[in-house]
């Protein structure tokens, strides 16, 4: 189940970085002495920015790919790699980190990254929800696919699954609003209300976020006070302020895009994204932002539970399938049967496109979580109290 990530190149750096960052302060000086050859800080920072830019250019290159599962995976991958590079540069510049204003900038970044952890948990719940939809689609396929003769029983079975799916997707949209009445218990007093008995009414074990949690608010908190560093800050930190700002923006954008794509609680996308054009990555990021916002405003996507392309495909093919199933009368005509098989084919393609992608995606989200935690704890170790000379 864990994703096969492409971070093997970064892995060796990761291990060294981790071990050195967790050494006690009084041992670092000797190692610093060994390693601190003339490394050009400026080149280091520049190449980091360039790599980030390249990744975002790549992400914005194909509009067909935008917001597909594989695109989201690519997005997370770029976060993981950027985060690794970020850590490496920080550790190579360890001696700079507790001087003001760098200490405050780093602390700010860590605070933002902790806020992203809740988003990761909410996204995992969203992935679980999509998994349920996948299972319901599978039932439809089992019922209707590859049957020599489609009987009424098959139809009823498929219909039931489609109804459950529709309810579940609707339910997810509604519960996207924090204000919605969510006081539904399963199997208790609501004997009359059949809706609540449906398989689609599946609420995953979303204990990782409380009922009042809001993705929109969380994103705003992550992006709060995220301003481009002023020139005196850049000078005082030897340019590291730009590094932190870049990574903070990468974090914000990635979390925002995840919330846009995947169903989660209170998915408001109105986050202030004012990127200073002086950064080379600002342009591709802004373009992605624009295109995603455009997508969210399209008529048939405005109320989507998530902008993931595959979710759109599910919605489309299930709507068509539903219409078909609704209009079918038994015995069905050959023509109708042909239409059914066509819809089944489409649905099957949607199913395949989801099937292989959800588990690796979840694995990546988990890895993002772990990496943020580890990076934060290293930060606590290396920038701990008592920063003065030994």
């Amino acid at each position: 189940m864990p994703a096969t990530t492409d971070s093997s190149a970064a892995a060796s750096f990761t291990n060294i970085g981790r071990s050195i960052l967790s050494l006690r302060r009084d041992q670092v000086h000797s190692i610093e002495g060994m390693n601190m050859q003339h490394h050009d800080a400026d080149t280091e920072l520049e190449s980091f920015q360039k790599r980030v830019t390249d990744r975002f250019l790549d992400l914005s290159s194909s509009s067909d790919e935008l917001l597909t599962l594989s695109w989201v995976q690519k997005l997370l991958q770029s976060f993981l790699i950027s985060q690794d590079e970020f850590r490496q540069i920080l550790f190579r510049n360890k001696s700079q980190l507790h001087k003001p204003p760098m200490d405050r900038l780093i602390a700010d970044y860590f605070e933002r990254s902790v806020k992203a952890l809740d988003v990761c948990n909410a996204i995992r719940d969203g992935i679980e929800q999509i998994r349920q939809w996948q299972k319901l689609i599978e039932i439809v396929l089992i019922a209707l696919d590859n049957k020599k003769l489609i009987g009424e029983g098959h139809f009823r079975r498929a219909k039931k699954a489609m109804v459950d799916l529709a309810i579940s997707m609707l339910d997810e949209k509604e519960s996207g609003s924090a204000l919605a009445n969510r006081n539904r218990s399963f199997g208790r007093n609501n004997v009359r209300d059949n809706l609540h008995k449906s398989l689609g009414h599946f609420r995953s074990l979303s204990w990782s976020v409380s009922r009042s949690w809001s993705a929109a608010r969380q994103l705003q908190a992550i992006g709060n006070n995220l301003n481009a560093p002023r020139s005196h800050e850049i000078m005082a930190t030897n340019g590291l302020a730009n590094l932190v700002f870049t990574m903070s923006f990468v974090l914000l954008f990635v979390m925002w895009a995840l919330v846009a794509a995947i169903p989660c609680q209170d998915r408001g996308l109105q986050v202030h994204f004012s990127m200073s054009r002086q950064f080379s990555w600002a342009a591709p990021m802004l373009m992605l932002h624009e295109r995603i916002m455009e997508e969210s405003k399209k008529r048939d996507r405005r109320n989507a539970s998530g902008l993931l392309r595959e979710i759109y495909q599910i919605e489309k093919s299930t709507r068509l399938m539903n219409e078909l199933l609704d209009s079918a009368q038994f015995p069905i005509t050959e023509e109708k049967e042909g239409e059914v098989r066509q819809r089944v084919q489409e649905l099957s393609m949607v199913f395949e496109s989801i099937k292989g992608g959800l588990n690796p995606l979840e694995g990546q989200v988990r890895e993002v979580f772990h990496k943020i935690v580890r990076s934060r704890t290293e930060g606590l170790d290396s920038l701990g109290k008592g920063n003065g000379p030994d």
Binding site: R24, I139, S208
Partner: protein
């Protein structure tokens, strides 16, 4: 009852029937038999997908209810991150007990339940149970990983270790009742979370070393008493040793991560010294990672006490301070099996020797001049006792003794045994010497001068020595009748 228009639906048993006190899930044999029939029929007719989805939904909601009843709150990571320690500590306690209840009490029942319902399909039962268990475990793991993020302060160590122990305990229950894939996945997730907690725990413990090092207190503790930081550190270490196994694991991991095999900071202590000085009972050298850290702390504490002792200008008080603290440390260690085993018999023996040395030093500092006053040497000239010298001697003795009594009765030796040892050993040297001096030379003083110079009888000396180290300021004037 359900209306007949939905004849392909039926009411699932009311989940409030489940009562964790009587075994979870708690359904009648008839209900279970019905569910078994339904499941068997559905699966055998090719409706496994629907059956499993319904079952999963049913059980997840049951668990959600149970956990709500048990008061498991989902606090966001932001909240946990900002909480005050008292509240967070409570949350952790609650996390531990609810989590344990889940995997020790509820999961076995759940597995039996799914086995009963899917009696014809054991692999389905295993899969459904594994998925359910994993779904329940996941938020607990997420919470505990976040705890590792919170502030590293000394008092948090033990809760962190409690969580490590809970995770270790959980691991022992992930057996082949779980499907292989999920078992592997869970095990590796738990390992990641454990490593975060372990790093945090190691960091907190190492913080103890830093705080001792940076304790540059310029004010000596009055009366040479046991220093509060000695008490704090020893109690902390004693408590930590109760988590010995977990801390061994923590430091094994920590040392591995730091990229070297054995010891941390060489400049603070010679590790080889400790390797040979820390034998097991059978004499083989022990070099457990936690023992190394423990000894590092003890060494730092010693160095710190040494530094603090030099704040006393009176060398005698210096030794009393060292004795007090050394004794306290030794008693603490001897009084607890866990920490005694860690430090070892040899270390304790060395400590006792050191204490005896302090004792000797104290006695020399304070009493050697006193004894010189009542030495039989140097009183005679031309074979005759020089009265003037004799009087001088008595005068000096009295002055010195009174000074010592005045000062050192205000000193404190709180360990009763040490206090009595000190008094007895002082008395054993001074009293007989005084008695013999007085006995030999009092004849040379007549009448009033006898009273003037021989202020004290030997019994008085003994009594006054018994007032030393009481912490009582007492003027001599009041004392004498």
């Amino acid at each position: 009852s359900q209306s007949s228009q939905d004849s392909d639906r039926c009411l699932l048993p009311d989940s409030t029937e489940s009562n964790e006190d009587e075994g979870f899930p708690n359904f009648s044999t008839e209900a279970i038999s019905n569910m078994n029939k339904i499941a068997t029929a559905m699966i055998s007719c090719g409706y496994e997908a629907e059956c499993c989805m319904a079952y999963t939904c049913f059980r997840r909601n049951a668990f959600r209810e149970v956990l709500n009843k048990l008061g498991f709150d989902s606090i966001t990571i932001d909240d946990a991150h900002r909480m005050q320690w008292e509240s967070l500590e409570r949350e952790i306690g609650s996390w531990i007990s609810i989590f344990k209840h889940c995997y020790r009490n509820l999961f076995p029942g759940e597995r039996k339940f799914s086995d009963a319902i899917f009696s014809e399909y054991p692999s389905t039962s295993q899969r459904l149970f594994s998925e359910l268990a994993a779904a329940v475990i996941t938020p607990f793991l997420s919470f505990s990983e976040v705890i590792a993020l919170t502030k590293r302060s000394a008092e948090r160590l033990f809760k962190f270790l409690d969580m490590c122990e809970t995770l270790n305990d959980l691991l022992t229950t992930i057996d082949d009742s779980y499907s292989k894939e999920i078992s592997q996945d869970l095990t590796s997730e738990i390992a990641v979370v454990k490593s975060q907690l372990a790093e945090a725990a190691a960091s907190i413990f190492c913080e103890l070393e830093n705080s001792i090092k940076s304790d540059q207190g310029r004010t000596p503790v009055p009366s040479g008493q046991v220093h509060p930081s000695t008490r704090y550190t020893m109690n902390y270490l004693k408590y930590a040793c109760e988590y010995r196994d977990t801390l061994e694991e923590v430091f094994r991991f920590h040392h591995k991560n730091e990229g070297f095999d054995d010891a941390p900071n060489q400049e603070n202590h010679d590790i080889n010294e400790h390797l040979t000085e820390m034998p097991n009972d059978d004499g083989t050298p022990k070099k457990s990672p936690f023992a190394i850290e423990l000894i590092a702390v003890m060494d730092l504490l010693d160095a710190n006490l040494e530094m603090k002792s030099r704040l006393y200008r009176d060398p005698a008080l210096r030794y009393v301070f060292l004795m007090n603290n050394g004794r306290y440390i030794l008693q603490k260690i001897k009084g607890s099996n866990e920490i005694h085993n860690m430090m070892g018999v040899t270390w304790c023996r060395k400590r006792s020797t050191q204490l005896r040395q302090y004792h000797k030093n104290y006695q020399r500092e304070t009493w050697s001049r006193v004894l010189q006053c009542i030495s039989h040497e140097g009183l005679q000239a031309n074979g005759k006792v020089v009265k003037a010298v004799l009087k001088e001697r008595f005068k000096n003795f009295n002055a010195l003794f009174e000074e010592i009594h005045r000062t050192q009765s205000t000193w404190v030796v709180s360990d009763e045994q040490l206090q009595s040892e000190l008094r007895v050993s002082i008395s054993a040297v001074v009293t007989p010497a005084y008695r013999s001096f007085v006995g030999r030379f009092k004849q040379y003083l007549e009448g009033r001068s006898m009273d003037k110079y021989i202020k004290y009888q030997p019994e008085d000396i003994e009594t006054l020595i018994d007032e030393l180290f009481d912490g009582n300021p007492m003027s001599m004037g009041r004392r004498r009748n």
